[in-house]
Amino acid sequence: MSFISGYLLSVIGVVLISAVLTALTPNGKTAGLIKTLTRLACILIIISPIPNFLKGKTDGSSIFENFLGNSVIETDEAFIEYYRKLRVESAEEKLEQELLEKYDEACVVSLIWQADDETGDIQILAVRVTTETPLETEVKREMSQYISKNYCSEVLIE
């Protein structure tokens, strides 16, 4: 901010000198010329930072430098990946609980998924259900129907 104080003091100084000169100059032909020159000097001093500013000489950096350079805001991809895994784990636990309540079967569910390229949403490609004991065909069919209705049509029951 030393620039601001320097600038304001230089403006005061030049205008003061201009006023003193104007006051001390005797009325005559040269008075008009002196007045015009001092006014010109004042205006030049006042507007001097503007062209310098645009050229980037004021504080060593251009006004437009980095104006658009850092204009990219990036999301935390590591956290998004962690969050997706958390959601998938949560969905797996939920489905295991549902299957236990509905078919009285303790199963291990794993969702095969990928992140959608455009939206980044979690896309379930298939549901793999592993049971401890072999299931009856009817139960297997019902379970498969239930999962394909609520989650995904690709169901693998092992």
């Binding site: 304001l8 005061i12 006023a19 004042c42 805001i73 999301t75 969050y83 969702l111 049509s153």
Partner: protein
């Protein structure tokens, strides 16, 4: 019980009333059934507590995974804010910590009075110089228009300007540091908010907001710091020079620069503000509709190959939304904390400039009074730049927070 009741009635010579019997049966039923209900209530309460514990655990896990180091460093760097750890604050906001308005107002008044107190010597000096100038003018009598009179006026005017320069430089320093600090805050908070938006299903909103907030936090804020504030200094310099000597007619230059400032701020507020609001609202609605469509498809048994994961109540989503809202809340508190001091300084300076202008007007030359009044007007551009940045930042945070409401 019934026999004893019949005995009692026989003794009284009356038949037992049916209603009385019903009451007794009801009471005896209650004695047996209430414990069952109470067990059910206890179970429901334990289910609630377990869900809350799960949600808290999920939140803590997410907080540990989220990279908050930059925000932590930024908050530590703020001198006036003692908010403690960022994680602790975020958890406190999730739990619904209320804002102490009375304390805030008391702090505002105390900081304002302190600001006025700090500036008072400079303005007392200006008033004294102006009064002295008035007295000298009266003593000069009929020779006021001569060269010596002009010199005395010039010297008193410059003497009045010197203490004011310090105050003005302080105002600019605080304004620039306030806006720069807000810009830094935006560059830390926006990626976090956008990350949380992306995780909670606002993918379209993120795609729309990313370039918009990047444009705002870089281009528009830089325009305020690099164009509006320097032009304000130039306007003040023109005003200073114009009042120093009546010979120098440069008020049109001031008007030109004022016009640039007004247009720049006006265009940014109206165009960017409206455009961003509209984009934010429409993208949030789109995200909400997409989410509902997926829910509908799943809920109605439409077999989906490669269906999207969409649960009714998902702890991770709930945790993400709570965390995002809490972060937004914290950002607004940080914004107020950063904005507070420069705004109070500008307010105090503006008030004192107008007061000193009013006090000095009746004495001697009107140039000091005019300059003070004009400076009070010109310094409003700094206030406008500061408030404009804060307003757009606030608007962007609100839109980001509202984007998840459409998803619920």
């Amino acid at each position: 019980m019934k026999k004893s009741l019949q005995k009692y009635c026989k003794r009284q010579g009356k038949k037992p009333k049916k209603s009385f019997l019903f009451i007794l049966i009801f009471i005896s039923l209650c004695i047996f059934i209430l414990p069952v209900f109470s067990v059910a209530f206890v179970q429901a309460e334990s289910v609630d507590t377990s869900a809350q514990t799960q949600l808290n655990d999920t939140l803590l896990q997410m907080l540990n995974e989220l990279d908050l180091q930059a925000l932590e460093d930024y908050v530590k760097g703020l001198e006036n804010l003692d908010t403690g750890s960022v994680k602790e604050r975020l958890i406190a906001y999730v739990k619904g910590e209320s804002f102490d308005y009375a304390n805030f107002f008391a702090n505002f008044i105390s900081v304002l009075l302190k600001g006025v107190g700090d500036l008072l010597p400079a303005f007392a000096c200006i008033t004294a110089v102006s009064l002295l100038s008035g007295v000298l003018g009266e003593l000069r009598g009929g020779n006021a228009g001569g060269t010596s009179g002009v010199m005395i006026n010039l010297i008193t005017y410059v003497s009045a300007l010197i203490p004011l320069l310090g105050v003005l430089i302080e105002c600019f320093e605080r304004s620039v540091s306030g806006v720069t600090s807000m810009q830094k805050q935006m560059q830390i908070v926006y990626p976090l908010l956008l990350t949380l938006m992306a995780t909670t299903g606002g993918s379209v909103s993120v795609a729309v907001c990313k370039p918009t907030v990047a444009f705002f936090s870089n281009v528009i804020v830089s325009a305020i710091v690099r164009i509006v504030f320097p032009l304000t200094i130039t306007i003040i310099a023109f005003s200073m020079a114009g009042n120093l000597t009546r010979e120098l007619k440069i008020n049109k230059f001031s008007a030109f620069f004022k016009s640039i400032n007004k247009w720049l701020i006006g265009i940014c507020v109206s165009v960017f503000g409206l455009f961003f609001s509209l984009q934010g609202i429409t993208s949030a609605s789109y995200d909400g509709i997409v989410r509902r469509t997926v829910k509908y498809a799943i809920g109605n048994g439409v077999p989906i190959v490669g269906g999207f994961l969409s649960g009714g109540y998902d702890l991770a989503v709930a945790g993400g939304i709570l965390l995002k809202n809490s972060l937004g809340n914290m950002s607004i508190f940080l914004l107020v904390g950063v904005l507070f001091e420069p705004l109070v300084l500008l307010l105090a300076t503006s008030l004192l400039l107008r007061f000193t202008s009013a006090v000095t007007q009746p004495f001697g030359d009107s140039r000091v009074s005019d300059f003070l009044s004009e400076t009070a007007d010109n310094i409003q551009y700094c206030t406008a730049g500061l408030l404009f940045t804060a307003f757009l930042y606030f608007l962007s945070i609100v839109l980001m927070l509202l984007s998840s409401e459409a998803l619920l």
